[in-house]
Every structure is written in C-alpha cells, then in structure tokens.
Subunit: 147 residues, 2 copies
Amino acid sequence: MPSTKQVLIGEISSSLEDYLEVIYFLSFAGKTARVRDIARSRNVAMSSVTNALKKLALRGLVRYEAREFVTLTSSGRSLARRLSERHRFLSLFLHDILGVEAETAARDACMMEHVLSSETMERLLSFSREVYAGRGADNTIKKPRRN
Amino acid sequence: MPSTKQVLIGEISSSLEDYLEVIYFLSFAGKTARVRDIARSRNVAMSSVTNALKKLALRGLVRYEAREFVTLTSSGRSLARRLSERHRFLSLFLHDILGVEAETAARDACMMEHVLSSETMERLLSFSREVYAGRGADNTIKKPRRN
DNA sequence: TTGACTTGTTAGCCACGGCTAATTTAATTA
DNA sequence: TAATTAAATTAGCCGTGGCTAACAAGTCAA
C-alpha cells in the first residue's frame, strides 16, 4: 500500500505551538534545528521533543524523519511566523505601552499568544498604532466602541 | 490515627480554577452548587465534576462529602473572588476599551484570567483607570515607563 | 410500597505532555 | 579501526482532565 501520510488538520495545542516557534527561531541563520537544541530551548527532555516532532509531522507542519534534520513545511513556517509575530507584539505592548517589566512581559506574552482571538489581537494592534501615531488614545478609548 | 486531611498547597490548574469560579457563581443567591449544575455550566460530564471536586477538596478549597452540598472554604472563596474579578475586569477592558465584541471578549478574558501575572493585571488596571479618569492616555502611554 | 426518574459516584478508558532508563545510531578520537 | 562519547529514539511510566457505562442512592408518584 502507498504510504499515504495522514495529515491532521485543525487546532494545535499550546505546547506544539511552542515547539513550532522554537524550531522557527533555531532555523534562522541557516542553523538547522536539532533535537538537542529544541530540548534545551524549551527546557524539556529530548524524548519529549521526539514525541512532539512526530505529532507536528503528522499535522504537516514539519518534515521529520528519525535522526534527520527537522525543517518546517510552508504551513508550519507560516504558523510559526504568525505566532512569533504575536509574541513579539504582545511583549512589546506589555512592556512599552503598559510598562510591565520585560521578563514578566515576555512570560505573559508567551501564554497570551496561544489563546487570544484574532479579533482581540487586531484591536490591540490598531490600538497601539493609534498610540504610537501620537494621536493619543482619547480618540479611541474614551468612548467604548460599538460594532 | 486522627484523619488528618492533607491539604495540598501551591498552584492550581486552569481547569480547577474554572470549577472554582463556577461554584462561586452558583452559590450566589443562597443557591447551593450541585454537581449537575456545575457540570452544565462547564459543559462537562458529571463524573468530571466529581473528580474535580475531590481535587479541590484535597487542596482545601471546597468542602465536599460525597452526595452532599459543595461549599467553598474561605480560601476557596477568596481565590474564586479574585478570579472572577480578574475575569470581569478583563472582559470589560477588552470590550469597552479595546472594542472587542462582547462574546469574544468574554472568551478571551476567560483564558487570560488564568495566565496573566499580577504585575500585568495591575498595569492593565491602572492603565484603564487613567483612561477613565479622562486624562487621556498620552500622559501614560506615549513614553514607555521605566521601573 | 414499588417502580421509575434524577442525581451522583465509581470504574475504566483515552489523549496529552511530561519524565527516566535503556537502547541504537552516528561521530570523533586515540 | 576500535573505543568512546554524544545525539536521538524507544519503551514504559506518571498526572491531568476529559469521556462512557454501570451502578447506587434518593425522590416522587401511582
């Protein structure tokens, strides 16, 4: 029988999202993401990484053959990119706009990035754009919006 | 030996926090929280509730004897109150300040309430106070704070 | 009182996401 | 080349938090 590799679609857990992001970062600068490094970055045992890679492969997000380099597929990469943009933006927002201490901001962002709806993300984004555009927030925030 | 009921301290999972909050709401208006109702509110099977109640009892957050009424202990109640305040504030923030659609705001708040650091919560709170005080946000948000 | 609901609990299953220990594979070096 | 070390995988465990199915206990009506 032809090896029809089943691709699972749909939601992915926060944990798998974190793995994906880590792989994304590690594979910058031409560096290939090795199990060891992924484990180190996520602070988990290597066996946990192996396990996660299998799941990510099943969902078509990474290319993974045992003992070979891990690479992101295009959908894996675009998901990873979206996540890391969320992350970057959220910690910026928390730190620069709200004044949360950098490390805390990063930690909180790391959890928020997995759970916020895209609607909230967009609102947050346009809100900060307004702030940075120097318009102040009055325009925007003093009267609650209605949709 | 005297039945020294071990009380587990420390972190509690988001799921248990949700149970606690539901019990808190259900026990308003003198209504006692019944397993059935908790299950309905959380949209889980009754057996899952039974299970959760045992854990909450072990942690000293609820008083629970099989087939009897569930009540919050004082520490359970204060945790529940804190959570529901977080929830209320977060959905208010998302909806009224950011303009996120009410239902989405509630959903997002429900996840954020379990993960945000108290530092971020405080910042968010004082930020919105400033907004509502009519000072606009310029004062506050144009220049990132330093601690 | 005796069914018949309703409510709750128990038992046993599952997926997830960790872990350790043992093993296999590959790379390096003596 | 042979031995050693490092990297990766496998096997098997654990807790969490769901689920269903089966059973137990009350409650209520006929």
